[in-house]
């Protein structure tokens, strides 16, 4: 029944002169998302809106689900196309359209007409009124409310002579089209938080790369596969992700050997940030992204965050900073990363964790501890960078 989908986008409509850039990016993302769906789709911009004409045999549910992963889309309106065969045929179509689209009880409704086809013999107000009358005849239990209707029926008489009827708006993910706001480097662990942080950043139009630290033999091949799977779960939103897999074992063992045990996690995270920043610069990312949230664990207290942050020269974005764990879990369930995240493989943050890690690290003390690493650490970091494996996840 729906041959066309009308895409509603909010924020990008107000971006002034850059508007076409955003629209083009959205069209590109929509085309990309529909590539994996059955059927042929034509995506085009017209009068400040984006339409998708869907070829025969496309799978409506599948296409809508794909579009619900495209940032920048606020709503998806399934459109019924009708031919101009006089106002009474149109009224019959409108009646049928409402009957199929809604479980009609005692709702209020309104008809809004947009008349681009100026040759049409009736004015838009007249059309709305006439159709409203016919709808009331067919469904006497409905009533008209022009101010705050529960059902809003749009009728669009297009220049081509075709008529579009649409009403329902399926919510999209909102945000901005990926690729309109540069790129960032996500520190991706196997946990619940970091994929959600990645999702939040991409929602603002940012493209993602990712860095994962593994520590064989303390972490397994399966733990690495889990991270690849998580990155893959993000790709419907983020597009392809370049995942850097850093072998962190030797650095970790060296810190373990030289530094106070309760500072291990903080120092380790400082080195992770340094290495991630190296790849971020190399691949032209503009910021680092982590899944940290204040106070969640010892390494995420205000003091710990400050100590970790101190090694970075780039901005570090922490989109979950004010989230409670349950709020993070809710998003991870929504984006379908939760199940994967909770698979019980040890990640390299937990293997040597102290029973009582520092919760209020003093930057000077941490820096002093790091001096004990001076003999070999640069070389170890260099080796870790050189031996990093890059995986293209799409």
């Amino acid at each position: 029944m729906y041959k066309t989908l009308l895409i509603k986008y909010g924020e990008i409509a107000i971006k002034g002169k850059n508007r076409h850039l955003f629209e083009d990016a959205l069209v590109r993302q929509i085309r990309h998302a529909l590539k994996s769906c059955d059927g042929e789709f034509t995506v085009y911009k017209e009068q400040g809106r984006i339409f998708i004409d869907c070829g025969d045999g496309y799978d409506y549910e599948e296409a809508v689900a794909a579009l619900q992963h495209v940032f920048g889309i606020v709503g998806i309106c399934p459109v019924m196309q009708a031919e101009d065969q006089g106002i009474d045929v149109l009224a019959a179509d409108a009646v049928r359209f409402l009957g199929v689209s809604y479980q009609l009880e005692h709702q209020t409704f309104k008809v809004v007409t947009r008349r681009a086809n100026k040759r049409y013999p009736m004015e838009s107000m007249e059309i709305s009124a006439y159709l409203g009358e016919k709808i009331l005849e067919a469904y006497p239990q409905l009533s008209v409310d022009v101010h705050d209707p529960e059902i809003l029926l749009h009728v669009e008489l297009r220049e081509s002579g075709k008529i579009f009827l649409y009403s329902k708006v399926i919510p999209g993910p909102g945000g901005m089209p990926v690729g309109t706001n540069g790129k960032a480097m996500l520190l991706l662990s196997g946990g619940i938080d970091s994929p959600v942080a990645g999702y939040m950043i991409c929602k603002r139009g940012v493209k993602l790369d990712a860095t994962y630290f593994h520590a064989p033999p303390y972490t397994s091949e399966r733990a690495k596969q889990k991270v690849i799977d998580l990155a893959k779960k993000l790709t419907p939103y983020a597009g392809p992700i370049n995942l850097h897999v850093v072998n962190f074992t030797d650095i970790q063992l060296y810190i373990y050997e030289k530094c106070p045990h309760d500072e291990l996690t903080i120092i380790m995270r400082r080195y992770m940030m340094r290495i991630a920043e190296h790849f971020a610069k190399e691949t032209k990312s503009l910021a680092l992204v982590t899944g940290e949230s204040i106070g969640q664990v010892a390494s995420q207290t205000m003091q710990s965050l400050a100590a970790t942050n101190a090694v970075c020269t780039m901005p570090v974005y922490r989109p979950l900073i004010g989230f409670d764990k349950q709020e993070i879990i809710d998003v991870s369930e929504k984006i379908d990363t939760y199940e994967t995240s909770i698979l019980p493989y040890e990640d390299c943050c937990t293997i040597f964790v102290a029973k009582h890690p520092v919760t209020k690290p003093n930057l000077h003390i941490i820096e002093a501890s790091e001096k004990k690493l001076s003999e070999k650490i640069d070389e170890l970091v260099r080796t870790a960078i050189e031996t990093t494996e890059t995986i293209w996840v799409e």
């Binding site: 033999p217 303390y218 063992l253």
Partner: protein
């Protein structure tokens, strides 16, 4: 050098098994249920495989039913046995150290109103016959036990148990999970008074997804799968000809060199245990010689978590298991049998299973031992403080 010491998880398929699988897929691909020549040809493979298996157990070939593997065989024996005999009673007996493929169907039966007794084991993993005797009551309908424990290789007193059960009440069904035992120990169901016996194909160089259940002809058993009436109506579903033919070939090969394999495995085990005992702080759980299964050595390396050791060995191309392979993915990878033999936590967390096949070489054992000697001190230095 590579050392695959995880043969109790699965084994490499034999070349000759692969050949017959391919042949029955590409050339003799008929459906044994078809009336034409192609069907008859395919049926011949089933008959031959059944013959080979029946001969290895000294039973009638009509008593062999092909299944999809050990899990199905166990499920079928327990659920089918319980439901066919539920008018005689609602009590079943098993041991506390069974594989999940026995424990889970038992749990299901419990939910369905059956009563289950779980026999405890001693520090070596053996049940006591006295416990078994005391557990048997008026309404006991089935006893199920494994012959060789999959994690530590303990051998359960199956023959004595069979005698005891049948003395008490010849109507009680006796099921034996022989998945780790078949082709390693001699098993004669008739003499051992076993009514139902589960075997898996991929543990003996056969294809995965194959196995069989021996069902004593006199035993009442309900089918698990209903359908087209294949395998005398007991196990419907288009016959898996490639699987059965591959399994038959694997069995043929295994029994053609049974005695040599046994001697070879015992030699490997002794070499492994002797070598482990040379290392610092190692506790071997498995019994030496013929007191335990010839192909399984379980040992603890206190101070090194088993998963870390497993991955460290993996980096040197040595493949082993921590606990039981099938239970390793759970949140707490602590095996049932290790807990049941009351190991202390440090041993529980550091237990590794080495399991051999007749193709394992002494060089592989030596390489593994050398690598352990090298790795253990390093890993212990970096253990969690």
């Amino acid at each position: 050098m590579e050392a695959y010491l995880d043969n109790s998880a699965t084994t490499r398929c034999l070349e000759s098994v692969k050949d017959v699988v391919v042949k029955t897929m590409l050339e003799d691909y008929g459906n044994p249920s078809s009336k034409h020549t192609k069907g008859v040809e395919a049926e011949r493979y089933l008959r031959e495989a059944r013959e080979v298996i029946a001969r290895s157990l000294k039973v009638n070939e009509k008593e062999i039913y092909f299944t999809s593997g050990g899990t199905e065989s166990n499920n079928w024996a327990l659920l089918g046995g319980a439901y066919a005999n539920r008018r005689a009673g609602k009590h079943l007996i098993t041991t506390a150290v069974e594989h999940a493929a026995v424990l889970m169907p038992m749990q299901f039966l419990e939910e369905q109103g059956f009563r289950i007794t779980y026999l405890p084991v001693d520090s070596k993993g053996h049940i006591s016959l006295r416990d078994l005797e005391n557990a048997i009551c008026e309404d006991t309908i089935l006893v199920s036990m494994m012959m060789v424990n999959n994690e530590i290789g303990a051998i359960e007193p199956v023959e004595e148990a069979g005698r005891l059960i049948k003395q008490k009440n010849p109507k009680i069904l006796f099921h034996v999970d022989a998945i780790q035992a078949y082709s390693k120990l001699r098993i004669y169901p008739k003499r051992m008074q076993i009514d139902l016996l589960s075997v898996s194909g991929h543990k003996l160089h056969g294809p995965k997804g194959t196995g069989f259940l021996y069902v004593n002809d006199k035993v009442k058993l309900k089918p698990l799968l209903y359908g087209g009436g294949q395998q005398r109506g007991m196990r419907s579903g288009t016959d898996n000809v490639p699987g059965a033919a591959g399994l038959g070939e694997a069995v043929r090969q295994a029994f053609a060199c049974f005695a040599e394999s046994e001697a070879h495995l015992l030699m490997l085990k002794e070499r492994m245990i002797a070598g482990l005992e040379q290392l610092d702080q190692v506790v071997v759980h498995s019994e030496r010689g013929t007191a335990g299964a010839p192909h399984i050595v379980s040992a603890a390396f206190p101070g090194v978590r088993s998963e870390v050791l497993l991955h460290a060995l993996e980096e040197r191309n040595i493949y082993v298991s921590s606990g039981s392979a099938c239970s390793s993915n759970k949140k707490l990878p602590v095996s049932t049998v290790l807990k049941e033999i009351h190991l202390d936590q440090p041993l529980l967390e550091s237990t590794i299973r080495f399991s051999f096949s007749r193709f394992t070489t002494a060089e592989e054992i030596d390489y593994c031992l050398e690598t352990l000697a090298e790795l253990l001190p390093v890993l212990r230095r970096y253990s969690r403080r």
